[in-house]
Point group: C2
Amino acid sequence: MHLDTLTANSGEWLRGTGPDSDVVVSSRIRLARNLSQFPFPARAEEATKSEVYSLLAGTLGDLDASPTLHPFGLETLDELDAQLLVERQLISHELAEGEGPRGVAVSRDETVSVMMNEEDHLRIQVLASGFDVKGAWAKANGVDDAIEADLPYAFDEQFGFLTACPTNCGTGLRVSVMLHLPALVLTKEIQKVFQALQKIRLAVRGLYGEGSQAMGDFYQISNQVTLGLSEEELVEKVAEVVPNIISYERRVRKALVRQDRRSLHDQIARAHGVLRSAQTISSDETMGLLSSLRLGVNLGLIDELEPATVNEMFIHTQPAHLQKLKGEELSSPERNVARAGYLRDKLADAELDTDE
Amino acid sequence: MHLDTLTANSGEWLRGTGPDSDVVVSSRIRLARNLSQFPFPARAEEATKSEVYSLLAGTLGDLDASPTLHPFGLETLDELDAQLLVERQLISHELAEGEGPRGVAVSRDETVSVMMNEEDHLRIQVLASGFDVKGAWAKANGVDDAIEADLPYAFDEQFGFLTACPTNCGTGLRVSVMLHLPALVLTKEIQKVFQALQKIRLAVRGLYGEGSQAMGDFYQISNQVTLGLSEEELVEKVAEVVPNIISYERRVRKALVRQDRRSLHDQIARAHGVLRSAQTISSDETMGLLSSLRLGVNLGLIDELEPATVNEMFIHTQPAHLQKLKGEELSSPERNVARAGYLRDKLADAELDTDE
């Protein structure tokens, strides 16, 4: 598989067809694993890292599991392609900007990606469209078992799976759900959600994980504790809490429509108008306006757009995607112009499709 | 002629086809006149005002001059219709909100309107599209002569034509030009224009005359002095100064395009986008956005709109016009919704016409 095949379409998880996709963008399972006979990447010599990478890439490329994984070495990948993988949430910023032998193995549908020589030897990730942590967990568990059949993991009776950072040891499991919460943000009710989640030790982060800002009203909710509970219990914990947030967001959306449909519709229609017209637009402004558009589509206030189209626009307006689509490197002001052009074309096409 | 015929079209002067119409909306001549045998309206008894009104309406309705004038009594006109005449600049706020026998005689093409029993017995007004003060003056002079042939004016050898307010006596002439100066406003160069005009005793006012704010980057420039110069000299003075402002505005427009075409185009396109999309919009915001649109059309940055369409939108989004178009009285929030609907329809039609 060539990396360019990724650019043309949007990953399966982005189709926006999963359960509760009006509020939940995606569900994610991440497992941190290390090989027993090698030091953690941060403490390994270049030669050892190289040996580990070869071993992992060979194993993952030939794994007895579905879907098939395609390994990419990050060292031979240019910066733009690495950034593309970050924007598609297939690898972390850390892996993209790291050094030495490292890579990722990706399935064609982008639901499975396994990072090699990031913080840990292996970071298994499964993405699912909408709210489906259990489905994602089952898939990740399968990939995990298949790898373990070929390679011995670093495991301790007391601490469970050993990881480079102690906060991950035990299960090595991070269960996370990406939520779109524009109504809770608009009404500032989101603060209550944060407080409630903190009490039960669930973390809230922005779109691109740890330390990133919540752009476009997207929030990632995940477990903080990885130790002392079984994988199934951790998955269950998130699976139990998220439906409350979903129904909270839906309730507030309905209330907004009931109380002042006109002004909500106005805000959404204006966002649509600016996206259809701007000649230059920043990434931040785009995220904010697309968030309004996504809300409008989900509330039926904009009927000429498919949810999947809006989801795609979130990804395709990111810097690396824009440059891939344009086929050239672009400065920040050039990207703002390319972004505006992409949005105008995409939204004009959507209108045309509706007219037909 | 029924008043409703005015609502359907836009007055000749609004067609935007006159000379220098990229900068000059309209030229206006106003003559203040009083009858010699009657006290000024402010000092007249109701019966006298009534007598004057009948005399004037009769004379104007049967005047030996072209175009034919149609007299309307303000006392029998409902508030909305009176407001409509204000918005079309055919009568003043003062006449609309005044009391007692008073009215206006209007030509079908709206180039000539003569107010009766406003501050003076007669206020003859001629409007011309674009920059044409001399043409407007010739027309006003003709109407003035025709009236004077039937009715004796109050005239004094020393003070010239006598008027209720001493600032108008002498010629009773106000020459004014309505300019659209978005580039001078954007670059704040407009302050220099104000200072220069003040020095040569020309007044600058907003869209609806004295005391009104400059909305939509429209400025009315007129003579302050009415005494000590002949009518022709006063007309000449304005005719000489305005071309400098026109070329100043054009120079700054070109400079804006040259220096940062992208950002100017962006601002104009976004204005267009909001006007095409908003579900509710205030009059002030509309004026500001339409001003950007007008600039865009004149710079060729928006090619799907005719200048006349934009000019028409300025008038038709005013409160009385909206209510006339809707055929019912509307509260302020209802007008904001009706205004947004009118703008969306008008701009969608314009796009459709271009597509054909």
